[in-house]
Amino acid sequence: MHSSNPVKSNPANLTTSIHTRARSVDHRAQRAARNRYIAGQILLYTVLIGSSVILLIPLLWMISTSLKPEDQLYLFPPVWLPDPIQWSNYTRAWTTVPFGTYVSNTVLITSLNIIGNIIGSSLAAFSFARLRFPGRNLLFVIMLSTMMVPYWVTLVPTFIMFRLLGWTNTFAPLIVPGFFAVPFYTFLLRQYFMGIPRELEDAARIDGASTLRIYAQIILPLATPALATVAIFAFVHHWNDLINPLIYLTDQSKYTIAVGLTAFRNGYQVRMNDMMAASTMALLPVLILYYFTQRFFIQGIVLSNSKG
């Protein structure tokens, strides 16, 4: 063996006294396979890291802009690292519009919707998953098909209805509908409830527990992960919702963050750093929530993809 033979560098090889030609070929094939594997991994990570950078650029750009002093905003090529970092953009964005009011309005509307969505949808899902009654399957099919109805078809008559009730410019049209079952969440929860073993429930029934008790004290506690998924989806949806607050709310003191941001932009000659600071503040809760609860996002998708 020549010392230049790469096989020799393998310590396992040094201890073997006899190298047959066949083994050497075998090793070469193994090495080729390993090289191919390494090349594949390098390619994979290059693509993964490259795509990640591209996907993160918009958010990094938002944060970078939100921290820039005015003289570094409109430059080409752009400056990525603001110098100095101007935190006051955030306080200015917070105070030029009543951002604190927007936040508390949004928190109120969003949290009541989360509670309402969970109660309404879990009750209906329990009925679909656990109770037997005539018409159940037909109603379930009807519910699934309503998921295909574009929201905009029902928007105008619903608006007229709330107008006739005198509910415009109040939070009621943004909260009351939330307490009725949401078809998508009902479907998700029903899928999850179906997977809960019946034995516990049967035992409780023999002990004389009512249906409401079984729902509240057996099914709901066991379904916490699915309820968390619904809560997160509902949070993201209502936090970001624009169209409903836009058509119902007219007083600035009642605005949510989404409507407030549009007003912020339309209001006056706004600086891009302030606007990106406001956008960052609007997105931050969602991003933080996502960071801590990723598995519930994924679980929701898996559930909705499962056949029942």
Binding site: L44, P58, L59, P78, S127, V153, I298
Partner: protein
């Protein structure tokens, strides 16, 4: 015994409907009721503050024969669907195949790829309007790095709609997760059997992976179609439908008639036309599925 059995069944029926009440009432008040009301209103000429007047199919007649903006909004939405839906499916599928690899740290990449999908709404639209800025936007800076002079994007009638499609691709991670969960549900034995039969990776992709994913592609196509016809926030924030109606999505036309013009009758007719379009397109896609969607074994 029979009497007792009957009463249990009846009790369960009553309880079943009671528990279902949140959905039944919601369905009546916020889905079925409004759909029917919408149709009734669409037969009237009704503006806020004025009494409504029955005009039969007059609104529909005007939509199809006298409303250039209706056709423009339909064209914009259709062209956008043709751009955004196929590219979205391809990009999401590519991401899913990439993230389905066994590699160290793959979960971190999944987190990053899915991240844009959880962000949406006004803040994201404002951000992208800034990204697309023709003079100082980061997109044209990136393009200049590879020697391309970027277009004016949202200010250019040719490029405004592609800009929206590009923005939608950023959120392809939402679809990606659905593909990923379907990919992971494909039985490994199929691949092993194909390997033994000497099928190379490309053939395994074409003859196992893709057919097994067709039900998911169908699902994404249908939900994507419904979603495209409801594109509002991004358009309303970034362009308000401009320039020169180049991004005048269908629901902007509904919004302008209903809430800017308070022409409730006409807006309701537009909403009903939207309903029928989505219904027909969905039915067409579902019908076409028998030719290209593969259902493994019909196990259930």
């Amino acid at each position: 015994m029979t009497v007792r059995h009957m009463s249990i069944a009846r009790r369960e029926t009553i309880e079943g409907y009671l528990f279902l009440l949140p959905w039944i009432l919601g369905f009546l008040f916020f889905t079925a009721g409004p759909i029917i009301a919408s149709f009734a209103i669409s037969l009237t000429d009704w503006q806020i503050g004025l009494p409504s007047k029955f005009i039969g199919l007059g609104n529909y007649n005007r939509i199809f024969t006298g409303d250039k903006l209706f056709w423009q909004s339909l064209k914009v939405t259709g062209v956008y669907a043709l751009m955004a839906l196929p590219s979205g499916i391809i990009v999401a599928l590519g991401m899913a195949l990439l993230l389905n690899q066994k590699a160290r740290g793959i979960n971190l990449f999944r987190t990053i790829f899915y991240l844009p999908a959880v962000t949406s709404g006004v803040a994201v639209a404002l951000l992208w309007a800034w990204i697309f800025n023709n003079q100082f936007g980061v997109l044209n800076w990136l393009l200049s790095k590879v020697g391309v002079q970027g277009p004016a994007w949202l200010l250019d009638t040719q490029w405004a709609l592609p800009a929206f499609a590009l923005m939608s691709l950023w959120g392809a991670g939402g679809l990606m997760i659905i593909y990923l969960s379907s990919l992971q549900a494909i039985p490994v034995e199929l691949y092993e059997a194909a390997k033994i039969d000497g099928a190379n990776p490309i053939r395994r992709m074409l003859h196992i992976t893709l057919p097994m994913l067709t039900p998911t592609i169908l699902f994404n196509l249908v939900t994507g179609l419904i979603g495209v016809f409801q594109t509002f926030t991004a358009a309303w924030i970034m362009t308000k439908g401009g320039p020169n109606y180049a991004t005048y999505f269908y629901v902007l036309h509904i919004y302008n008639n209903a809430f800017a013009g308070t022409r409730f009758g006409y807006a309701s007719a537009l909403a009903w036309v939207l309903f029928l379009i989505v219904l027909i397109l969905t039915a067409a896609v579902l019908r076409s599925s028998q030719y290209w969607v593969f259902y493994a074994g019909e196990k259930e």
